[in-house]
Amino acid sequence: MVRSLAAPPDEADRWLTGLFEANVGAAFNVAYRITWSRADALDVVQDAFIKAMRMSDQLREPTKARSWLLSITYREALSLLRSRRETATDPSDLDGLSGRAEDPADVVARRELAALIDAAIMRLAEPLRTAFVLRDVEELPIAEVAEILGIGLSASKMRVARAREQLRVALEGVT
């Protein structure tokens, strides 16, 4: 169903609720892996769905609703991150945002697999991280990853390959 702002309110709400239920998990993952803050990720997700609703007449192919929504989420998250970096005055704020303050070596001691993986993903540069999350955490086809990131297929494959390689090295001994 292609939804437009001219649609009756009930129909518009149904469309939006359907879009939300189907994609909020993936959108939250993408937003969280960029902002590293649950609160910020929730704000990003909320803003992304509101923007999607207002731009819904631009969605020409309903089958591409997921990549369209995740593309909006990705841009919203990057935009929030950039604005935080511009306004942050305390360098520790940036550490909190990038998450790079936590050394995987410290996490090893906790012997928690999820925490180890989290720390290793944190250390990836953003372009690699988002490509990896979309492909290997959300398990989207590589063509859809390219669409969401707004880059070519081979560039997407390259990002995923580099992310996997860096994680393989970082998690050596764990995997």
């Binding site: 939300f20 939250f28 993952n29 929730l42 999350v133 955490v137 390689e165 994680l167 393989r168 995997t175």
Partner: protein, 77 residues
């Protein structure tokens, strides 16, 4: 196939995106190269771990709160 060629095609190999001839060449190389076999196993583990352990979920309260705000914003058009 050489190690460097396989390294360049590893992602496509894991994703099943190589054409049959390339895939056969990769399999043949892997059968004789312990180092590439080990890289492949490690990379496959990373992919498997990511899909099992790297998802961050919203709570049902968070989902409900965000959806209600989104719908409210929709009502304001």
């Amino acid at each position: 196939m050489q190690c460097s060629e396989l390294a360049a095609k590893l992602t496509d190999f894991i994703d099943g995106a190589l054409d049959p001839a390339e895939e056969d060449a990769a399999v043949e190389h892997l059968a004789t190269c312990g180092e590439c076999e080990s890289v492949l196993a490690g990379t496959r583990s990373v992919v498997a771990l990511a899909s099992r352990h790297a998802k961050v979920d919203l709570s049902s309260d968070e989902r409900a709160r965000v959806l209600s705000r989104v719908l409210a914003a929709g009502g304001q058009g």
